[in-house]
């Protein structure tokens, strides 16, 4: 791995600024990876890493990634929620990097919900 410097960041900045001005405001998709100690211990960070790499490789600029704390569903973790603008949120359970890549390509990019991994549909309160 070549050592990155702040100089490399300058190039990225130019690119991101150009993209943001084209996109104007709202992102099309919001993806939430649920963390908390049990989530982290069961691989939530690796799921997040896989998602970030997919976004990077695809060059998509309309996806927002967030994390949230534990929801008390520790045994089903890692959990990921996908919200596409104008559609009900979909919550996926027992995620891993491979399933995340599949959900990214098929659901987030192509719009097909990956039913076998779905835990729940619709909004709910979490903390």
């Amino acid at each position: 791995m070549a050592k990155l410097t702040i100089e490399d960041l300058k190039k990225i900045k130019e690119r991101v600024m150009a993209e943001t001005s084209l996109r104007e405001g709202q992102k099309r998709v919001k993806v939430t990876v649920h963390m908390g100690t049990c989530g982290i211990a069961s691989g939530a960070k690796e799921v997040l890493d896989a998602l970030m790499r997919e976004i990077e490789e695809s060059g998509a600029t309309d996806i927002m990634v967030t994390t949230s704390g534990c929801m008390g569903l520790c045994s089903r973790e890692p959990l990921v929620t996908v919200e596409i603008a104008g559609q009900e949120p979909i919550k996926y359970e027992y995620m891993n990097p491979n399933k995340m890549r599949q959900v990214f390509k098929r659901h987030i990019l192509a719009g097909e919900i990956q039913t076998p991994f779905v835990l729940a549909r619709g909004a709910e309160k979490t903390k």
């Binding site: 990155l4 100690t37 960070k45 996806i63 927002m64």
Partner: protein
């Protein structure tokens, strides 16, 4: 936890939940004494003496969604298992400092792992918090300060995927050079 980076993410999340605006994460490789020291300092709301005493009890948590709190006991155990030690300091209204000392060469010590990824996960969790990561080894020192990155990108939010991917590789490439075997 498989990597120390997982603990960094987990302990950092405690700090965020405590409302910290500034979080300093330090990893020091002390080859002379054979220790790897991990220290996380925050300016969150802290703990009272009573809370502090209970913090290492796995059945203590202030979370509402469940009844166990495992983050701190797991790190304490990971440190003690390697012939090291664990220390927790906290003042209400001031903040908290978590120190884990691990046996550098101990077989049970978890590898440092993807620190850059842990930091980006924390930035995603709270893009407006200032995170400083400092790494010191016999080979030199490295510091990543999100406030400096913010200045550099002039108002772009740090949670843009391209900026996050930069931060991850920026940190990991420097850490790898300073601590290739850790």
């Amino acid at each position: 936890m498989i990597e120390l980076a997982h603990h960094i993410l987990d302990i950092g999340e405690n700090s965020l939940r405590a409302g910290a605006k500034n979080i300093l994460i330090e990893v020091k490789e002390d080859e002379t004494n054979g220790f790897l020291v991990m220290e996380i300092t925050d300016d969150g709301y802290g703990m009272t003496e009573k809370e502090l005493k209970r913090a290492l009890d796995p059945f203590y948590t202030t979370k509402k969604v469940r009844s166990v709190g495992l983050g701190l006991p797991m790190l304490a155990e990971a440190a003690e298992r390697t012939g090291g030690s664990f220390h927790l300091e906290s003042k209400p209204g001031k903040g908290t400092k978590v120190t884990a000392r691990m046996g550098l060469k101990h077989l049970d010590r978890q590898p440092l792992g993807d620190v850059g990824g842990a930091l980006t996960a924390l930035i995603i969790a709270s893009p407006t918090t200032r995170f400083i990561y400092r790494h010191i080894s016999g080979k030199g020192a490295f510091e990543m300060d999100t406030e400096k990155i913010e200045k550099e990108v002039e108002g772009l939010p740090l949670n843009e995927p391209e900026i996050l991917n930069f931060i991850r590789e920026y940190v990991n490439s420097h850490v790898k050079e300073l601590s290739p075997e850790v």
